[in-house]
């Protein structure tokens, strides 16, 4: 239907402006140290968003993101690189940034299970941990190329996850919730008591290195000293882009449709020939794989793994990110992850109150905006495709 494509598409400008503004804002927020300034900036953000909401400036933005996603994604990547370049020698900010990227990847994986297929998974952090421990063990005891280690991490997460398939497929609702919750506790205790994996002490993880390029050494471009975290930023960015495309294509295909159908009404779905088990398995395995890969890379970034990093509470934080951003909406996840990871780091005063804060936020979201900050729009198989 080529003729229908001629119809005018939503303008690019609003999206670009929004991106530019948020980039500048992000740089400012990450740069300032003085608490009053930080608080001021945060207040500013809230006010700005509310204002935009009432001036009805948000819908144009949403529309141009919906229809010009391809172009805007490229701009978004550029924006991220600008931020990274700005902080090229600031270890801590870059570490924070990388953390955001990898958590986004992980929650994208969780989103496939939770958001699309409706397969409950309260053990997100556990699968993240399986990935991290994989890289810890392989980097310590073997010479497996590190890019391969990432893959293996993902596969192990998927594999161990599939041990749960039988109960996950057979149970429903609360019963299904228990399966993953029990697994989360089981895995953490196992890691704690298992000496080979370092017990509660945890393990060191050797930094990444590809073709002799060691990621843990600072390097220089011209005369400018660069933080070694830039290496990780690049890889994490690539990983995020890959996952983002994967999740997008998944959603915008018959498979995405099947997953939704399974989530919304199993009986009806099976009356139209859907193989419930097949799609649940697809989602669960694929999701855990993605989470595992992110975990493997995060293990190398952090340089250390311990059971206490992968507790039930951490899994809950992942779920919170999902709900906060808006289940099923990748862009929402990016925003939510930034809020959840960066806010407590910048706002020293709330550092130790952060769990309390997250919990309260999620409760508020569930009570007053169950669809999250950026609700998932209805499926468009091809952005900008009009009829």
């Amino acid at each position: 239907m080529s003729e229908v494509r001629q119809k005018p598409r939503a303008p690019l400008l609003p999206g670009v402006v929004a991106l530019a503004l948020s980039t500048v804002y992000l740089i400012a927020l990450l740069a300032v140290e003085k608490q009053p300034l930080v608080i001021g900036l945060l207040a500013l953000a809230v006010v700005a968003v509310l204002a935009a909401h009432y001036m009805d400036w948000l819908n144009p933005v949403a529309r141009s993101f919906a229809e010009r996603e391809g172009t805007l994604s490229v701009y978004a990547i550029l924006a991220a690189c600008v931020v990274a370049a700005f902080f090229h020698d600031n270890h801590f900010v870059l570490l924070l940034f990388v953390t955001v990227l990898l958590y986004t990847v992980a929650t994208l994986g969780l989103n496939i299970e939770f958001g699309y297929a409706g397969v409950l998974n309260f053990a997100g952090a556990s699968f993240f941990g399986i990935g991290a421990y994989t890289s810890a063990v392989l980097n310590t005891y073997t010479a497996v190329p590190h890019l391969l280690v990432l893959l293996i991490g993902g596969m192990l997460a998927a594999l161990i996850g599939s041990l749960l398939l039988l109960p996950v497929l057979r149970t429903r609702g609360h019963y299904a919730a228990l399966v993953t919750i029990a697994f989360a506790l089981l895995l953490k205790t196992f890691l704690e008591v298992n000496d080979v994996l370092g017990g509660p002490q945890g393990m060191q993880v050797k930094g990444m290195s590809i073709l002799g390029w060691s990621f843990n050494d600072n390097f220089e471009v011209g005369k400018i000293e660069m933080s070694f975290y830039l290496n990780y930023f690049v890889v994490s960015m690539l990983l995020l882009c890959g996952t983002f495309v994967l999740v997008r294509r998944l959603e915008r295909s018959w498979i995405g449709l099947n997953l939704d159908a399974v989530r919304l009404d199993e009986t009806a779905a099976s009356c139209f020939g859907l193989d419930i088990a097949r799609w649940k398995i697809t989602a669960f395995v694929l999701g855990n794989f993605v989470i595992g890969v992110a975990g493997a890379l995060f293990g190398m970034v952090g340089g250390f793994v311990a059971p206490n990093n992968y507790t039930f509470a951490d899994s809950l934080i992942m779920v919170s990110i999902l709900l906060l951003g808006g289940i099923g909406n990748p862009w929402g996840l990016v925003v939510a992850t930034f809020i959840v990871v960066v806010l407590p780091e910048k706002l020293q005063t709330i550092q130790e109150y952060r769990f309390l804060l997250y919990a309260l936020i999620v409760i508020m979201v569930l009570l007053f905006r169950p669809e999250g900050l950026l609700p998932r729009p209805v499926r468009r198989y091809f952005p900008g495709w009009r009829a």
């Binding site: 609360h174 019963y175 809950l316 109150y353 919990a359 999620v362």
Partner: protein, 306 residues
């Protein structure tokens, strides 16, 4: 194995089982009336224990030192406070979400649990540290070979049994119990029978949370130490117990509670690997049970109208 030693293990198992059961019964009550999981239950237990401790310290500071009086006061205050808390939770967090998907209720109560836990950690003086809990029960003990029978454990077991029997009687013999069971059976019919649905739900939550308070105090008396994190694991275990027993059935909860304790004890002593693996073992069995009996040992009927 030496008989005395065996009895010792059984005794340890019974004590754990009793505490798990009290928690599990709460879960199963809530599920009965509202078909929801109130995950904050375990942390209500924590708050209950800390309330009791605060009461104790308060009373001691004003010079009251009679042990039975202190114990009574602690129980009363904790029970009343938790009952109230339970009602509040039901009224403002659970009831509003009735139309929403059950997942949301699960999540909101999970998060509420975190809120309670963090509140204790942050706002109770030095709440992050484990707190010594007074031993208020007579600690006399008889040594039978390897078996050391402690009076306080016996008292606690007896108390637990009485509470559960009492609850059973309340549900079976009283008008209130009838109303609760009616609501659990079918909300609509209950309404048409002229039962005040909201009131019944609130009362049920009060009862369940009161049980949590008792379990909390019992936990403190048993370990002589409480900490802000104690509720999380107890909650999950109680939840597991209720689930493997079969949600909505009191007997299921009891069965599940003691089963879980048994699993832990067996995992600790009877199995070849190190005792530290006992929870790994217990939870593995739980998952296996879910695969075998997806709706619990005492089956709960699932009927779906098409």
């Amino acid at each position: 194995m030496d008989v005395g030693l065996l009895t010792q293990y059984v005794m340890n198992g019974l004590m754990l089982g009793m505490m798990y059961t009290l928690v599990a019964v709460g879960f199963t009550l809530f599920f009965g009336v509202l078909d929801i999981i109130k995950f904050s239950h375990g942390d209500v237990l924590t708050v209950g224990a800390f309330t009791a401790l605060a009461t104790y310290i308060g009373l001691r500071s004003v010079g009251i030192s009679s042990t039975p009086l202190l114990l009574l006061a602690m129980l009363v205050v904790a029970i009343l406070a938790m009952a109230a808390l339970g009602m509040l939770i039901a009224r403002y967090l659970v009831m509003p979400l009735r139309s929403a998907p059950p997942l949301n209720t699960l999540l909101i109560t999970l998060m509420l649990g975190t809120v309670l836990r963090e509140m204790v950690r942050l706002f109770y003086p030095q709440g992050a540290n484990p707190k010594p809990f007074p031993a208020l029960l007579p600690t006399g003990s008889i040594n039978l070979g390897q078996f050391n029978l402690r009076l306080d454990n016996v008292i606690m077991l007896a108390a637990g049994v009485t509470i559960i029997i009492g609850l059973r009687l309340l549900l079976d013999r009283t008008k209130l119990g009838l109303a609760i069971r009616a609501v659990a059976q079918d909300e609509e019919t209950a309404r048409t029978m002229g039962i005040n649905f909201t009131a019944i739900v609130l009362i049920t939550f009060a009862i369940g949370s009161a049980l949590a308070a008792v379990a909390g105090v019992m936990n403190g008396l048993y370990y002589n130490e409480i900490n802000f994190g104690m509720g999380l694991l107890l909650g999950v275990i109680g939840f597991s117990a209720a689930i493997i027993g079969g949600l909505g059935s009191i007997y299921g909860a009891i069965l599940g509670g003691f089963l879980f304790a048994a699993l832990q004890t067996i995992g600790a002593v009877a199995l070849p690997f190190a005792s530290a693996y006992k929870d790994v073992f217990a939870f593995t069995v739980v998952i296996a049970l879910m695969a075998w009996r997806p709706t619990g040992l005492i089956q709960e009927k699932i009927s779906e109208r098409v």
